[in-house]
């Protein structure tokens, strides 16, 4: 397919779509599907048929609309109506009412205002098609401007020019470490092929507990990731790519398979794309679901069919990666940013965000906020704004206690930094990280030593076991945290815990061990009093730790019967 043919196809598709008066979108991404949104879609279709409105109304299954907690979500594109918690016909009359009211007043009971800050304050680049296109139809993606960037790059830009735009954009890796993407690409481009080969890998492992950004992108807009990979492959000189997705993401896998097939059929992937000399083939690799397999060297071992253990770097994958060949490995969201950058130019992207953190970042907003779900915000938005405007604040009039970013590799940010901008540098300056985009809000009902214990439990069961400090050190740290939350720890235990934080961080082989102490270290730094309370006063202020006294409620040391005073 040539660029002209692509544009023609987009035009035809656009005409077809404008003929439909009401295009009703139903979210068919994982969270809404789990609430039977497929049934909602079927009910809506049946209802439209019953009313004989098939020629002016069409129902479309789309990707995630973001406010997953209120799902299933349904929208009417013609008039911007948005409905939440829509139930299928066998449960109640939601779908009947929606169809009946197409030309009249919206169904009040189900309405959700698209004017909410949750929607208004976002800036969607990565998610621009999410909730708009049918992820299982490549025509929908093409209609939204898809593959223009790839074909433009192939026919009008040299590989170096592509890299130049990515570098100019200031895009940094969204997988956690924030390494400059352009720099990585140019390193791989400069490396000489090994046995004639270079590879591109898309890291879709997403092992962080609570994170679902990458899954959502793959489920909602898989073609965009393929397009990003193809552009990258052209830029660095690779002809083969792999997408590593964990097997727990069946919907993402299904849609990727469909997407790859459709792109191949249209000649947008495979041999001689757009009649050029460039060929690129993408294969899927399923991971068994180990956090450590997201670490790039472990992931490469896993793709090679070996045990997913990390190895020391250098050499970096850019020099010696998959089957010893130079390998470009980027995160799903990183690749999803590529097409719009090529389409609009690096300078356009660089104008968004902060000085050192450009563009937008997708977050999985979870925990104690009114609106949980998926958001995409420009870098630099203050944390307070994210939590209180987009997130809608903390329910039940409770007090904010901490925001956890970066999952098990990240840390807890206390109230005093709420006005901090969300960018790589600021998060790092308070001991946390951007990570892949998990953002968990905690209120006074969270016990910080208990939170630290949770993450440490995760790290010690997910450690690959190769290097001693991580294999054994995380277990000791978890045991110490268990003692603390059980009210059995001594001040010496606390000292040992701090010493282990330092040893594990500084001597572990890979990022898992090196960052595993972060949740402990940040809670120790900002919420030390809670540790002291647990150790010296056998007291858990949050009332989480079983068997420990809660001040104001049962202010009695452990072991004695609790006396309720308030």
């Amino acid at each position: 397919m040539t660029l002209d043919e692509l544009r023609e196809l987009a035009e035809t598709e656009r005409e077809k779509q404008t003929q439909v008066k009401h295009e009703i979108h139903v979210c068919t991404a994982a969270a809404c599907l789990s609430q039977r949104s497929d049934q909602v879609k079927a009910s809506l279709e049946a209802e439209i048929k019953a009313h004989g409105k098939e020629d002016c109304c069409k129902v479309k299954g789309v990707g995630c609309m973001g406010l997953c907690a209120a799902g299933p979500l349904v929208s009417d594109e013609s008039n911007g109506r948005l409905y939440q918690n829509v139930r299928p016909a066998d449960e109640n009359t939601d779908t009947k009412e929606i169809v009946a009211s197409l030309e009249s007043e919206p169904v009040e009971r189900l309405s959700l205002s698209p004017e909410l800050p949750f929607f208004k304050e976002q800036k969607k680049i990565v998610l621009e098609n999410s909730g708009k296109i049918d992820p299982e139809r490549i025509e929908d993606y093409i209609c939204a401007g898809g593959y223009e960037a790839l074909l433009t790059a192939l026919t009008e830009m040299r590989p170096l020019e592509v890299i130049e735009q990515i570098t100019k954009s200031g895009l940094r890796g969204r997988g956690g470490a924030g390494y400059p993407t352009g720099l990585k690409w140019s390193t791989v481009a400069k490396a000489s092929p090994h046995n004639g080969a270079k590879y591109v890998i898309c890291n879709g492992d997403e092992g962080d507990p609570g994170a679902f950004m990458d899954r959502s992108v793959l489920e909602s807009d898989p073609q965009r990731v393929l397009e990003g990979m193809a552009i990258a492959a052209y830029a660095v000189g690779a002809n083969r790519g792999f997408i590593y997705v964990r097997a727990e993401y069946p919907l993402a896998i299904k849609r990727l398979k469909i997407a790859i097939k459709q792109a191949e059929t249209m000649g947008l992937l495979g041999a001689n794309i757009a009649d050029t000399t460039f060929s690129f083939k993408i294969e899927l690799r399923l991971g068994a679901g180990a956090f450590v397999c997201g670490e790039e060297t472990a992931l490469i071992a896993s793709v090679e069919g070996k045990r997913g253990n990390p190895r020391p770097r250098p050499p970096y994958p850019a020099q010696e990666g998959l089957w010893n060949a130079p390998t470009l490995i980027n995160n799903v969201e990183t690749f999803a940013n590529v097409a719009p950058i090529i389409r609009n130019g690096g300078a356009w992207y660089a104008a968004i965000g902060t000085e050192k953190s450009k563009g937008t970042k997708v977050f999985a907003l979870a925990g104690r906020v009114a609106n949980t779900g998926l958001i995409e915000i420009p870098m630099g938005m203050p944390l307070r704004h994210v939590i209180y405007q987009l997130g809608g604040g903390i329910p039940d009039n409770r007090r904010f206690k901490a925001a956890q970013t970066g999952g098990p590799s990240g840390g807890c940010i206390p109230e005093e930094y709420l006005d901090m901008p969300v960018d790589y540098e600021s998060l790092a300056s308070v001991g946390s990280i951007m990570g892949s985009g998990g953002l968990i809000v905690m209120d006074e009902t969270s016990c910080m030593p208990d939170v630290a214990k949770y993450f440490m439990d995760f790290c010690c069961t997910e450690s690959c076991g190769k290097c001693i400090p991580c294999r054994v050190g995380t277990v000791h740290m978890h045991n110490l945290l268990s003692r603390i939350t059980a009210g059995e720890a001594t001040p010496e235990d606390l000292a040992l815990l701090e010493r282990l934080c330092d040893v594990v961080r500084n001597t572990s082989l890979c990022g898992l061990g090196q960052s595993a102490p972060n949740p402990v270290a940040t809670t120790l730094k900002y919420f030390r009093k809670e540790y002291i309370d647990h150790i010296h006063h056998k007291r858990c202020t949050a009332g989480v730790c079983e068997g420990l006294a809660r001040p104001g409620k049962d202010d009695k040391p452990k072991g004695k019967p609790a006396e309720v005073t308030a």
Binding site: P312, G465, V503
Partner: protein
């Protein structure tokens, strides 16, 4: 022999000027110059994996500690192999190893001939400050000539590598993860029933501890002969 395309570089290790080939590791060069760096997962003749972290060294200009066994030398590098900071971490790592499984040396066949024990002596480790985890692990005595006692295994994977890289049998591999990782023969079969094991005993002799031993030895009797490896590797390379 490998084609000799490597360049010559000079670096400083503990203040000594050292000459090196650019394809050598810091550990190689330190050993050539009689500078001691503690190691456990490294053994001459096998590929290095950088797992035990005992050989960590400091490089001037970087706050990150790097494993000497897998870090290539670079022109002008300044390496410190023995600072109070390094000693502190090495002891902490050894402590963790001793806490992980059962290491009551007095009843161990390798007592007096054990690299872990020897390192603890060298580094002046007199007691450990982390609690013992002491899981109860199996002892596999199903092999006619050898015993695998998982209570003494430190997961250095020397056995796995020698069997794969030198003997070519790949009898040993790893099973499980984290602190539950075990060395297993074939697909977790008893060693005595392993179809792939040739009975060569190489794994036994590269094992740094009392985890793989010959049968019929009593406490303190088992000595290892791991020195054959570099010779074997050299012979192979010359044949190719």
């Amino acid at each position: 022999m490998k084609p000799n395309t490597a360049q010559i570089t000079t670096l400083k290790i503990d203040g000594h000027d050292c000459g090196a080939r650019s394809d050598e590791t810091i550990l190689d060069v330190a050993q050539e110059n009689n500078i001691f760096i503690p190691t456990l997962c490294h053994i001459d003749g096998l590929q290095d994996i950088g797992a035990c972290r005992l050989c960590l060294v400091e490089i001037k200009g970087s706050n990150k500690l790097l494993p000497a066994c897998v870090t290539r030398v670079q022109e002008g590098m300044e390496v410190t192999t023995n600072s109070p900071r390094l000693q502190h971490y090495r002891k902490a790592i050894l402590e963790m190893l001793f806490s992980e499984r059962n290491h009551i040396c007095s009843v161990c066949v390798s007592n007096g001939h054990c690299e872990l024990q020897w390192l603890a002596e060298q580094l002046g480790l007199t007691h450990i400050s982390v609690p013992y985890l002491h899981p109860k692990l199996e002892v596999d005595a199903s092999n006619r000539r050898f015993v695998a006692d998982h209570n003494r295994c430190i997961l250095c994977t020397r056995c796995v590598r020698v069997c794969d890289e030198i003997e070519g049998a790949h009898t040993w591999d790893l099973y499980g993860r984290g602190v539950d990782t075990r060395v297993v023969s074939d697909l977790k079969q008893p060693w005595g029933e392993s179809e792939s094991c040739t009975g060569c005993g190489k794994c036994v002799h590269v094992c740094p501890t009392g985890a793989l031993v010959e049968k019929g030895r009593s406490a303190g009797e088992m000595t290892k002969r791991g020195q054959f490896l570099p010779y074997l590797t050299l012979m192979r390379e010359e044949r190719q």
